[in-house]
Amino acid sequence: MASFSLHPLLSALKVRITAVHQNGDRLYLGTATGTLQIYSFDISSTSNDEPLPVIKLVKTHTLGKKPIEQIGILKESGQLAVLSDSVVTLYSLSDLGKAGGSILSQARNAHAFAITSYTPSFARRKPATDDTQVGEVRKDLLVVGCRKKVVVFGAGKGGLKEAWELNLPHSPRQVIFPSAPSSSTSSPMPETVHLLYSPTSSVLLNIIPASTQRLSVSELTSAPPPPPHPSQVSTTGGASGSKADDKAADGGTAGGGLSMGMGALQGLGGYVGLGGRAAIPVGTRTVGGEVLISREDQGVFYSSEGNFTRTESLQWPAPPEAIGYASPYIYTAVPVVQSTASSSGNLPPTSTIQIHLSPTLSHRQTISLPGPPTGALSVTSMISVSGPPTTPAQAMSAAPKALFISTPTDRNLVTAEGSSVWLVRSGDIGEQVDELVREGHLSDAIGLVEAVGDSGLAPKRRLPQLRILSALQSFAQGKYQAAIETFLIFNVNPALVIALYPSDNVSGRLHVHRDKWMELFGAVEGARLEPQEIEVKLPEDGEGTARSLLRNLPHLGVTKKPSMDVVRKESRSEDDGASIRSDGEKVPAMTDTELPRAALEALMYFLSDRRQKLAGAIAALPSPLPAESDHPPLSALPIEELHDLPSLPMSELDHEHLLRMAQVIYTALIKVYLVARPVLVGSLCRIENWCDVEEVEGLLKAQKKFADLIDLYQGKKMHGKALGMLRELAKEEDDKLDKYPPTIRYLQKLGPSELPLIFEHSKWIFQEQPTMALQIFTADEPEVESLPRTEVMQFLEQVNLNSCMAYLEHIINVLGETGAEFHDKLSELYLQASRDALKTQSDRERPAEYSRFLDFLNKSTSYRPYRLLNRLEEDQMPEARAILVGRMGNHEEALRIYVFRLKDYSAAEAYCGRLYAKEPDPHGIFLLLLRIYLLPAKPSDPVLLDPAISLIATHGVRLDANEVLALLPPLVTMEDVKAFFVRTLRDSHAKKNDHRVVKSLVSARKERVDRVLMGLQIKRVRVSDQRICPQCHKRLGQSAIAVHVPRGEVTHLHCKDLFSAKLEKLRG
């Protein structure tokens, strides 16, 4: 256990000890008979196994006959100050006992003194080179409280020999120096000293050497002391001072419990013989210039300016007999009256040592001293043990903290046994922290660690962890936002925070029951979420054991029984039922079914912040986050792994941790939105996210958020699922404008990488609504246009020929595709369609499909005619055949088809006209037609004179007249060929005239050019020895030159370009 323990250090000394002082390894005890006992005292050797320091009597000096009331050491001058017989005597430490002491005659009628050492101001101004040098100039300061005056030694330049006095209205009974402010490294002379007159009054003594007055007195603040700390109220059973009086008057009626207070004590005064001593006020210095002074049964904290330093006071069950302070605890010796039903209330008070945690004033423990067989014990001279400087880790372990003396009040016992010296030992600080955490007193744990510093503690006991646990408690009490802010500061693993929320809708698998929260957040086992109420309860049988212990005391040195030589009382009560709850109001707590909105808002706040930090951390990564698909899904991970994610700033996490963190955060965020902000679910699904799909898809489906779920699938590239869902949804739609477009739009966004998926999921639409389905491949979207056309064509060919045709028309006509395979495929499809149309349509009208086919064959140049020709049956579609053979260069064949098979002479002429327009008379295409007309290849073919004559009549000029004449059969009337001759002759005349004009123009031009040449040739420039190139300013000499028009500047040939450019520029 990590609690405090009490050890008898020296017991039954057979003499009354009246003063104690410890300095390093020496322990000085002053007796009532004026003897000074010096013991060796080595606390550095103590450990957990050996809890008691080795103590040995070294020397005894008899200094006088009167009781030694106080002992002190003047460290700097090496002197021992002893207060006895109302005077302070200084003895040299080195030869104690040989030489007599020097009596401080100025301080007669002394009641108390206090000693400290300081660095004089002149010494502090010099830069201290090392510690020893500073140590050399330290000086002692001794303040002695005498009857109605105070004397200060050592403040002036004359050292201890110089004494300043100040008369006072009362006699200081106790002198306390405030502790040095923690900020300063050197210790200046304290400017104020607390002088305690009585348990109810004290003043501040100001020491100002520079002023003329030097010493002055100022009052403490007159405001009423702050109220007692609430936990102490419960310590006293809820009784304030006046109530305690009532209780005492009631006698023993408060059965079993504790009754204590002023009245009780005063009533006992005569019996226990405390009357004289009770008037001595007690107090102690704490830290940072603060002083704790007892005001009857209250401990009030004052600053060195005389103001209250705290808003709360310390409350004891009775006025304390002695107070000691060893950071961070306050030790107080308090006589407690135990009144039980059996005894009539006249039992002697039990001496107890009460231990309070200084930063929070919470009561930690009460240890009862074993009472003597008769009478009571009076405790005096509580001093804190100052050990050698230790490392932070050592400072945390168990160590002796305070010493005090107990003396029986019974006269016979005093003479028989005498006083005992006790040692209070603190437990291991770390274990105390654990203990406080276990009790749920996190603020006390924080105060404790703040006071001692957390450098020597295990990480689990350090401040950040304690603050997190404290925030967890606030969370449990319904202070969600405050708790969340703390979680953010310490980067608490989001999985842990989420675990605090109910499982059905927010945390899911992460959920942890309220009872396990503390454990989850890394508190010690058995830590309580709600702080435990403390109640002081002295065990009924305590006296018995204590008595037997006391009887054993004299033999302790011989019989070492660790279990017996430690007196320890558990102050904590076992039953919670009896404890009084101080917090009356109940905050609406979070249960599995009820989720306060504030809790949700706080979680959203938390997750939003984490999300931002996460984004920053991911952006700062040297390489991108691994794909989610490379890792097992979040839902497959054991919960412990998520709870164990490190609580570190996002920027310090590695890739995998970041990914997991992201998944946890986003998954929770979407769940919170589903509960608190359903509209935002869509937004979250659309932006880049790390939601774990498996965990949220069920929830989204349950809330019918299909569109958002599809968005989520899309973001996660889980297109198969999204499309399956779209199809399911489509089944319920009747309107075709609601049924198909969602899927179509989805497919349009997929792009080439998801081609098989597009094919798979577009089939059903093609089957049901081919026209709309075609939009999947024809929409004006970059993703759609980048789809590989060959694959799409092949797919469509299998699914729906009409769609395939429409697709090919789209890519050829709209997008200008020239690939032969597409043109081939389209012509084949057209051919097929035409064939089908021809079969069904028997009338002579040419079906539209066939016209379209022919149109395409004529227009397109990208198809491969021979492939198509193979597919064409001999006797089918002569028009198409004609185009195809013609396309292959076999014009004669083409024309023959027109002429003989189709007898469509205008088509034949139109064919020739098209060809002629492209490449004028390449092979005499019209002549070829004429030959076909007039020179039948087979005897069976007729001579087609009429078309031949109309041909030469219309296209005569495109025919070689001689050839035509040679071809014409002998018996043709002039009438028939008149038109031909007229045209041909006119044409030849026109040509002749044309040539003449051209000839004249050319010769005219030649003459002009000749004239210009002549003009140029007669131009001359003179290149003399003196002529200089205007470009490079060198002589032209014999170099090649260039002459510039129109002014005739002459430059070197190689300067020509530069000079021309210059001229150009000049002329603009």
Binding site: L488, P502, D504, N505, P588, T593, E594, L595, P596, R597, A598, L600, E601, M604, Y605, S608, D609, R611, Q612, K613, A615, G616, A617, A619, A620, L669, Y673, L674, V675, A676, R677, P678, V679, L680, G682, S683, L684, R686, I687, Q703, K704, K705
Partner: protein, 206 residues
């Protein structure tokens, strides 16, 4: 609610990098424009006082970094915003298409109490550039704004100070309305009962 206390409106300006968020703000607050481009780092704010519906309000304009690498502002940044201004460059299709993402991002990060009615304003900036460079038609932008719940739309030029004043006046007006709205939500005493049937009501029942 009738208190005439000083009103501070927090307005967040979002949009792709280089669309002119900082320029718009500078034009509105300082009446200055610079052709120099300097990427905003983190976030910065300018304030201007103006009169809306006879009330003097202080508008705090939060300029943000559009560049991805600067985007990790704390949660406090988006919280408590009264209006969100989405800016795009009419000469960049990409910046327009990104509006959806910015809107979603804002909503998720700020999680306003009533996301459906949170005021947004869309600004199509850089209309001073020649018509041939324009990539996003007014019609396309208006259609988008309409689909997102009739978001007010303005075509602006920070360079030529076209429509800037009018746009920010509307922003302030809508922000003020939102500010009044949020006060209604100041406390949320009612816990959400998730076991009961009405939890379904959060979803869309249409």
């Amino acid at each position: 609610m009738a208190s005439r206390k000083k009103v501070l409106l927090k307005v967040i300006i979002l949009g792709d990098s280089g669309v002119g968020k900082t320029s718009l703000m500078n034009q509105y607050v300082n009446k200055r424009f610079s052709n120099q481009y300097k990427a905003t780092i983190g976030a910065d704010f300018l304030t201007r006082e103006l009169v809306v519906d006879d009330r003097v309000v202080t508008m705090q304009l939060w300029d943000t970094a559009g560049q991805e690498r600067f985007q990790s502002l704390g949660v406090a940044f988006y919280r408590g915003a009264d209006c969100c201004v989405l800016v795009y460059d009419v000469n960049s299709s990409k910046s327009f298409e990104a509006l959806d993402g910015w809107r979603d991002e804002f909503l998720v990060q700020a999680s306003p109490h009533d996301p459906e009615n949170f005021p947004f304003v869309v600004l199509g900036n850089k209309i001073d550039m020649e018509e041939s460079k324009r990539m996003v038609s007014q019609k396309r932008a208006m259609t988008w704004c309409q689909a997102k719940g009739n978001i007010p739309y303005f075509e602006t030029s920070a360079k030529e100070a076209i429509n800037v004043e009018q746009a920010f006046q509307t922003i302030a007006k809508n922000a003020l309305a939102q500010e009044a709205e949020t006060e209604l939500y100041a406390d949320y005493p009612d816990p959400i009962r998730i076991d009961s049937e009405n939890s379904q009501n959060y979803g869309c029942n249409c």
